[in-house]
């Protein structure tokens, strides 16, 4: 199919026109346009409908959106009825959201962030950070490309292709290593953060850990892990700045 390269580049900005009304739908339509262009001369009416369909409401993990984009573009060329393609897009939101969240947000991102923090704590500095940022983006590009190519190859059979691929297994298995790396990073980074201060480091650490546990346990839904983490970071920052 023509336009694969351009669709891939446009997919990188799939969230660029995010709105509550269509979520990533407009970004999907923009990325689908180069793929669907070949329909324009022969079937102008179908081309119009297909492009509009591609821009309808859509929501999934941005790095995996190519699976839905490629699959629906192929289905359009195969003359699959529009209603069927709509249902494919709706049904794909679920697994592509869940698998992407598990693999990236709860797996690869914590692993890479922990490695970056450990790198800084151990003195790797800017080189360490650059390695992590570049490594993460290479992984993201490879996954985006795999997703679009797989979608384009398999069309309406994309579901079977996803369940047979590396993705569900990796998504199910990445949580344990992510927990391990993040858990190893915490004491290393904690020791590094507290190293410039004299005073009761152990007591402060225990106090902070106790306060965190109490907030998460009894603080109610308001105290999300992000908020607790930010408060914790603020306490450490103030402590390292102003402690005697």
């Amino acid at each position: 199919m023509k336009g694969k390269g351009r669709a891939l580049v446009r997919l990188l900005a799939v969230q660029g026109a995010w709105s509550y009304e269509r979520m990533t739908g407009v970004g999907m339509g923009f990325a689908a346009e180069p793929l669907l262009r070949a329909l324009e001369s022969d079937e102008p009416e179908h081309h119009r409908e297909a492009t509009a369909r591609a821009a309808e409401f859509f929501n999934c993990h941005p790095y995996l959106a190519g699976l839905a984009l490629g699959a629906s573009a192929r289905a359009e060329y195969e003359g699959v009825p529009g209603a069927q393609i709509r249902r494919l897009r709706t049904a794909l939101c679920s697994p592509l959201g869940a698998l992407g969240d598990q693999f990236f947000w709860a797996g690869l991102v914590p692993i890479m962030m922990s490695l970056a923090l450990v790198g800084v704590a151990l003195g790797a500095g800017a080189v360490g950070l650059a390695t992590v940022v570049i490594g993460y983006n290479v992984a993201r590009l490879l996954v985006t490309r795999w997703a679009l190519w797989t979608g384009l190859e398999t069309g309406m059979q994309v579901g079977t292709a996803i369940s047979a691929s590396w993705l569900p297994r990796a998504a199910a298995r990445i949580a344990a290593p992510a927990g391990l790396v993040a858990g190893l990073a915490v004491p290393v980074v904690g020791a590094w953060l507290l190293s410039p201060v004299a005073g009761p480091r152990l007591a402060v650490t225990l106090l902070a850990a106790g306060a965190t546990l109490a907030l998460v346990r009894w603080g109610g839904a308001r105290w999300t892990s992000l908020r607790v983490g930010l408060v914790f970071a603020l306490v450490v920052l103030l402590w390292t700045r102003f402690a005697p």
């Binding site: 009304e21 709706t90 049904a91 679920s94 959201g97 079977t160």
Partner: protein, 157 residues
């Protein structure tokens, strides 16, 4: 265990349902009520991929759903019922004694619908349909994720 929640969400099974509500309410069984999906194996395969192994997921049509409501009400697991359309939910709960509460979780933009909340777009007819449900004794409110704060139908008018 009772049916803890009936949710209307056009994205059907996704993160807010599986991680948000199912965890918060201790759900063991997610029931997707949809005539089309109940008849389509490949769609069920896709939705199953989005659900962690410790959660049970069932696919039924409206008729089966109506028959099995008493079974879920008295069964061993807390149940979350999910439909993609308002119309499906009203058919499911029509004339049911002591209906469970209905949660509007995600009804997105379509031609003719206007924004009521960032995640709820309704036509006037759909709002009227929800009002009919409420006057039939169903508690209806909108809340995308647990703890976000429920918005009553009055707040959507």
């Amino acid at each position: 265990m009772p049916i803890r929640l009936c949710r209307i969400d056009d994205r059907l099974i996704h993160g807010q349902v599986v991680l948000g509500w199912a965890r918060a309410l201790g759900i063991g069984d997610i029931v997707l009520v949809d005539d089309d999906v109940a008849a389509s194996g490949w769609e069920q395969d896709l939705y199953r991929m989005a659900v962690p192994p410790e959660l049970k997921v069932e696919f039924v049509d409206v008729a089966q759903g109506r028959r099995r409501l008493p079974e879920w009400e008295s069964g061993p697991m807390a149940v979350l019922i999910l439909t993609g359309k308002i119309e499906t939910m009203s058919r499911l709960l029509a004339d049911v004694p002591h209906p469970p509460p209905v949660n509007l979780g995600g009804i997105h933009h379509r031609d003719g619908r206007t924004e009521r909340l960032p995640y709820v777009y309704l036509t006037d007819e759909e709002l009227a349909e929800l009002r009919r449900l409420e006057s039939a004794g169903v508690a209806v409110s909108a809340e995308d994720v647990p703890g976000a704060g429920a918005v009553s139908l009055e707040g959507l008018a």
